[in-house]
């Protein structure tokens, strides 16, 4: 990469497209960086606890570097636009919550309706483009105070991800993390073979 990619571009490249959910995640990630004085994670200096699995989480992964693969992205399936970012170095944790209704409005509703539709007409594609432009400016220009509430919270800092031993499943022969196996009739089975 010959130019430093701005956070927004990192998120778009990771996610694949621009949408309001991603932009909210961009704002949340940038707020966390500012409030905690943190840079992008390299090797689990940060942990993100996310309470949803929507588009915003891709911005958290791309900008903060808290990723599914590194094990420093913890998903709690609460269906809430809440992200708690923890810095291991400072021991600080910031809980950011989107204000209810902060991006609601006709443009948002219409965008959702068009987004859920497959074969858009040319007019609808044009309308969707204008709506995303309108929402884009609104979300990126809105004062953080209007978009989110945030506070430092006391949390137990999760342990760093552990690399477990891989063993062979006696039925399928594939490798499986030892802690995910069970022993049945003297055989070591992976979760898939346990069910079949």
């Amino acid at each position: 990469m010959c130019k430093n990619m701005p956070p927004l571009e990192l998120a778009i490249q990771f996610h694949g497209h621009i949408c309001p959910g991603l932009l909210i995640g961009v704002r949340a990630a940038e707020l966390a960086q500012k409030q905690l004085g943190i840079e992008q994670d390299n090797d689990e200096e940060l942990v993100a606890i996310v309470e949803n699995d929507n588009c915003s989480v891709d911005a958290i992964q791309a900008i903060l570097g808290c990723t599914f693969g590194k094990g420093n992205l913890i998903f709690k399936d609460y269906g809430k636009n809440v992200w708690t970012i923890i810095s291991r170095q400072s021991g600080k944790a910031l809980r950011i919550a989107q204000r209810f209704g902060s991006t609601a409005g006709p443009a948002s509703e219409r965008f959702r309706a068009l987004n859920g539709k497959h074969d858009l007409t040319d007019e609808e594609a044009g309308e969707k483009e204008m709506l995303i432009g309108e929402l884009f400016e609104k979300i990126m220009s809105m004062p953080a105070e209007d978009l989110f509430t945030w506070q430092q919270v006391a949390v137990k800092i999760p342990d760093r991800a552990t690399i477990r031993k891989t063993v062979r499943c006696d039925r399928c022969g594939e490798g499986v993390m030892e802690t995910r196996t069970i022993s049945r009739d003297g055989q070591t089975l992976c979760p898939e073979c346990q069910m079949n």
């Binding site: 010959c2 130019k3 701005p6 927004l8 571009e9 409005g105 040319d122 044009g126 483009e129 220009s141």
Partner: protein, 267 residues
Amino acid sequence: MCEANVYINRASGEELLMEKVDRIVPGEDQTVFLENIFGERKVVKARIREMELVHHRVVLDEIREESHTVHEEIWLEPSTDHGHFHEGEQVRLKLFKGSNMKPGHHAHFADLKAFVAGSGGVKELHFHDHHGSCELVLGEENDGLLQLWAEENENGQRRLASVLVEVGHHHHHALKPAGLDLEIFPTDYSHARMGESYEIQVLQQGKPLAGVEVRATFAGTHQKDYPHRLTTNEEGKVRLFLTSRGNYLFSVSVDDLTSTFTLVKSF
């Protein structure tokens, strides 16, 4: 009133727009959002004329889109996929003719001239035909910022196109307008990023031009007409929030002269 039928007054007369509407929200930009009990939604450009609550009837007046004159214009785009060239790379640009960043079919160019201003002063360039495209080839350029412009004269219509081309990275030095008869010039060229505002100034004979319409568009837009129309303030300036990746085009017309500026972005 539980729900209502919504009618709209169009030029052709009144027509039923949506039945059993249970939610009407006036939006920004003269829009009205409608939702009915079946979950159908519509956004129309209209204003509410009348609400007959007893008869469960709402009447809107359609706001008709203004029809705009199509200005044929020329614009320059660098032949690079990431917004700038590297030192030692061959700097090439294409000239297009059309409107709203959509080139016309079989565009014909008449009486063309092109110039480049860089560290070595201003020099004239020559266009080449490259597989049917009108192309400028500068060759290998040193690290720096190049200011290019082209001019076409066709049957009394004058068309200007200008662009700034970056060779290398991070050029933040101040730039001066080229001094064109009608010129669009960025007030701070180095900050052009999606998700941020970008400001340009319109100059006529080097002086700020207030109250003139600036059309703005971006590569790949789905809009048939320019998605943005802005009016310059007393300093001849307008700001646009950039919501698209890739290049933007700003365009302005005064009498028989149309001038464009291509904003080339890395992101």
